[in-house]
């Protein structure tokens, strides 16, 4: 067992606030995910996700507003499309798609956020450290 290193990209308006909500409610979750705030999940280019893996991240989370609730109307629609393809591509390259978590967390869903962090950390822990894959 090892401690997975995870980077989480959170949109400023829903998911980051969801994380704040979890914090305000003092919900406990594992410390493995380091959060990077972006204005919208649509800002996250696939290259950014891949660069995380290159730096040795064992998992990457991309969290945005729920479909239909995007602060920028439909920025997360592109996220949905890009990330769906990126997950497939990871598979085609022998990287488990489970290493890339794409989900939607609203500002109110502190509990969902905390649960998601915990379950994703566990999910990644079940896989080999990424450095062992990337040589």
């Amino acid at each position: 067992m090892y401690e997975p290193k995870i980077i989480g990209f959170l949109c400023n308006w829903c998911s980051y606030r969801g994380a704040d909500t979890a914090g305000m409610a003092r919900m406990k979750y594992p410390p493995n995910v380091k959060i990077i705030r972006v204005p919208c999940s649509g800002r996250i280019s696939p290259e950014l996700v891949l660069r995380c893996f290159r730096e040795g991240a064992d998992g990457v989370m991309v969290l945005g507003c729920h479909i239909g609730d995007c602060h920028y109307a439909n920025g997360n629609h592109r996220t949905a499309k890009r990330m769906a393809i990126l997950r497939q591509l990871l598979e085609y390259n022998g990287i488990e798609a489970q290493r890339l978590c794409v989900d939607w967390v609203s500002a109110a869903e502190g509990e969902k956020f905390a649960t998601l962090i915990a379950s994703f950390t566990e999910q990644v822990r079940q896989l080999a450290p990424f450095v062992e894959i990337m040589q």
Binding site: Y2, E3, K5, I7, W13, C14, Y16, R17, A19, D20, A22, G23, M24, R26, M27, K28, Y29, P31, K34, I35, I36, R37, V38, P39, C40, G42, R43, I44, S45, E47, L48, R51, C52, E55, G56, A57, C65, G68, D69, C70, H71, Y72, A73, N74, G75, R78, T79, R82, S106, A107, A108, E109, A114
Partner: protein, 664 residues
Amino acid sequence: MAEETRIGVYICHCGTNIAGVVDVGEVSRWAGELPNVILSRDYKFMCSSPGQELIAKDIKAQGLNRVVVASCSPHLHESTFRGACVSGGLNPYLFEMANIREQDSWVTTDKLEATKKAKALVAAAVYRVSYQKPLESLFVPMDPSVLVVGGGVAGVQAALEIANSRRHVYLVEREPSLGGHMAQLDKTFPTLDCSACILTPKMTDVGKHKHVTLFTWSEVESVSGYVGNFTVTIRKRARYIHEELCTGCGICWEKCPKKVLDDVFETGLGYRKAVYTPFPQAVPNIPVIDRPNCTYFIKGTCQACKKFCPTGAIKFDQQDELLTVKVGSIILATGYEVFDARRIPQYGYGRLANVFTSMEFERLTNAAGPTGGKVVLRDGVTTPKSVGIIHCVGSRDVNYNNYCSAICCMQSLKFAHLVQEKLGAQVYEFYIDIRTPAKAYDEFYQRVLKEGAQLIRGRVAEVTNEACLPGEDGKLIIQVEDTLIGKQRRIPVDMVILSVGLQARADAKEVAIKFGISCSVDEWFIEKHPKLDPVATMTDGVFVAGACQGPKDIPSSVAQGSAAAARVMSLIGQGEIEIEAATAVVDDGTCVGCKECIPTCPYQAISFIEYVRKAYINEALCKGCGTCVGACLSKSINLKHFTDDQLVAEMVGAMQTMKLFEAS
């Protein structure tokens, strides 16, 4: 030569909020060794005045050109610390925040792990801040006109406040008259003053105000632009009445032969004509012709109203009009809907005649209502001798709405008082908890108790007309577990009132998208901050007031109306508006003109310059979402303050720290 990067790092204790879990001294010591960090301090409360002064002083004394504060969420204090940087003479965009409270000390159990995580987050911020560039904000003039959507009490209040300070208000109301739900109510709790009596003067003030343009029977069609410069298209639906010619004399609806069940204002208890104003005090006092029910529109005959109208104001050929107005800010006060009691079949609404909803009861007891204020059963004559009032119908219920509708307790107690006062009937209230927190509310509760209402604590299981015990014949029986005595009870009554909850309007989501704001899971509009910015939204220049933001009573709605007006006035007072500096820019040296970005922009801020065949972003329209950045394959678009370099540096900072801990 490039200027040397000099970073100051400040670790906030936040009392014990952070310091109780994270070893702030250790984080501060460790941050001091990060590249380019000139000084690193920890301090009890960074957001306090001395904390802010510390930053300003260090910037000047130590020549800091970058500042990192590790404390709470940037949503709380980013602007505070940016302000501190500015007072120290530093561009606010050379500041970065690490969230070690909401994302660390409050959520991490293991102190050692929390300290490690704090280090990683601080390192990420330190790495990032080196890449940050000073940004200058764009200023655009603020249009002093205001759009208020919704003519209920919150909207009316907001419109009045703004108009009284001589700024122009466009007030749009979907129904034929202002008034909203409040116009339907009889008495208002806890003072029991007549709703119409206190609302009507406000409505008339707005109606005749020289700084208000009223659009009733109208809806907002579309909104474009941004704070300070919105362009709003309003659909003014055809009333088939010439508004300037109409004097509101009422001859048309007297002469109209077509009676229509009024299921909006009179909740289906009364009738109106096919040409009507919803109630006598309507503002404007101009009727509308109900096209689907008007004989002329159905059969082409009748025209009674037209024949008798003394001013010739009836215009059957009127068309919907699309009007465009320019405003600088918008207040949404679109109100609520009541919960549909039919959704709870076991309460019998719609099936058992004498089960009423709270809104129906308001009309029954209202002197201007269909029964002239006589509280009678559905047969129209019988006076009930006993009345059961059920609280929380559709509220605080996992099957329907999880939240408390805030008004039902007081409303139900008010009903108890009115029933006893008017009929002397026995009243039973069925409640889960009694919530009477505002001024003079609990006193009212005590008063109703003294008046003899029986309060039974328990969620009602069923309302039925199937008698099985003596004394139940011909009655409605309320089956409930009285949780205070721990027994099942059957209470026979003549009339049941369901205190139905409030819920977001069916089209709330649609409206939210139109105005670029967001909705909660329950579809209430989301405010910018639940405590500190309750009437602003995430979209600059768009504010919310009243029950569209969540269940609210009249005092709170009025307060929010005023609050939203105050926020708008403060914007107008600034004269010009600072536009988000973190916008996207196209590097026209590398743009290949593939147009991939153009349709991705939710704000139509990107255009294609044909003669150079390159994309161009209008910074005033850009909201800085960065979706175009994610779409640009040649990486020719960059989002200021969220550049690839900055995000990569932030990530590398976090990763390297994590790897360091892993190795050790």
